[in-house]
């Protein structure tokens, strides 16, 4: 089944079409939003199977809320980041109650050959360090430095002030620096 995310229409416009039963809008939204939601879930959870379940559930909630979506209150992506993070937090709490065997997996879409291998190793080290951060710090750091969002949007997603976002990111980066300090030589950064 081919998925085509290419459309000039904004997410909320497509969502309105979706709510009227438009299957083309459903296909475009699926192709456009699933990669974003899955990637965010994976970065918060470090586990592919769990991230897939969280992504499916987050999007299912979007499909169900589509007829009642109120334009102008929040961006669709902002709403999805928030729901995804909440579901991931629930998943992490469940995981703590079950087992400690879910070691973060490295992301698996390596660009190519040697550079890809080194990126994968660095990414694996970062994923492990992120997994040790408190949930809110991890979410803020991932949104800012990996997803590339601005602080105002992160504040909207996390429902906190921009100052609180700054504080979470600063503390998260200090902890990451300490956690990764011993890995820099291994990963070739001292030669950069």
């Amino acid at each position: 089944m081919p998925f085509d995310a290419h459309s000039d229409e904004a997410d909320h416009v497509l969502l309105r079409r979706f709510a009227t039963g438009d299957a083309v809008a459903a296909r475009i939204l699926t192709a456009r939003l699933t990669p974003m939601v899955f990637a965010h879930a994976f970065r918060l959870l470090g586990n592919r199977a769990e991230a897939e379940d969280v992504a499916q559930e987050a999007l299912l909630r979007l499909w169900r809320i589509a007829p009642d979506w109120r334009e102008g209150e929040a961006k669709v992506t902002t709403w999805l980041y928030r729901v995804t993070a909440n579901l991931a937090t629930d998943q992490l709490r469940k995981r703590r109650g079950v087992a400690l065997d879910s070691v973060p997996e490295p992301a698996d879409s390596a660009p190519s050959a040697a550079e890809g291998l080194q990126d994968a190793a660095r990414n694996a080290a970062l994923s492990a360090a992120l997994a040790d951060l408190p949930e809110r710090q991890r979410q803020a750091v991932v949104l800012r430095h990996i997803e590339g969002l601005g602080n105002p949007e992160i504040a909207g997603i996390m429902d906190i002030s921009a100052e609180a976002v700054e504080s979470l990111i600063a503390r998260g980066k200090r902890a990451l620096t300490q956690a990764l300090a011993g890995r820099r030589a291994d990963l070739g950064y001292d030669n950069d």
């Binding site: 039963g21 990414n123 620096t177």
Partner: protein, 137 residues
């Protein structure tokens, strides 16, 4: 005690890790995309099957609000309230007697001259009965 302040070179080192993470964005599997698409179509179908009377109805104003709108909004309500108060005042003034009522009516109607206000005795025969009772009693 260790100094935990973040130095510029620390930020640079972290930035390299973040850049590696951005280049290795995890991609969803085709199976996940198919599951999400199936959910989307099922949600659309479920909505189509809900009878129209079961769907959330658009907002309808309450009975009082509908009455208010039918009468012409708040200004009309104000006029209606004033008329009600006037009626009540006239009713309360009635026990004062004919002069009292006539005086009130003339003052209310701003006619100044009480001669312009008519008082109609609707049951004139009662005057005769009262007079007879007084004479006989």
């Amino acid at each position: 005690m260790t100094d935990h302040r973040q130095r510029p070179q620390d930020d640079d080192a972290l930035e390299a890790f973040f850049a590696a993470a951005q280049r290795t964005t995890p991609a969803p599997s085709d199976a996940l995309l198919a599951r999400v698409m199936a959910d989307a179509l099922a949600a659309q179908e479920a909505r189509q099957q809900v009878p129209a009377r079961m769907r959330p109805q658009p907002f309808r104003p309450g009975l009082l609000a509908q009455l208010r709108e039918a009468l012409g909004g708040w200004p009309a309500f104000g006029g209606l309230a004033a008329a009600g108060v006037t009626g009540l005042a006239l009713g309360l003034a009635a026990p004062l007697g004919q002069d009292g009522l006539a005086g009130f009516a003339s003052a209310f109607l701003l006619q100044g001259d009480t001669g312009d206000a008519y008082l109609v005795d609707l049951m004139p025969e009662l005057d005769f009965d009262f007079a007879m009772e007084r004479n006989e009693g």
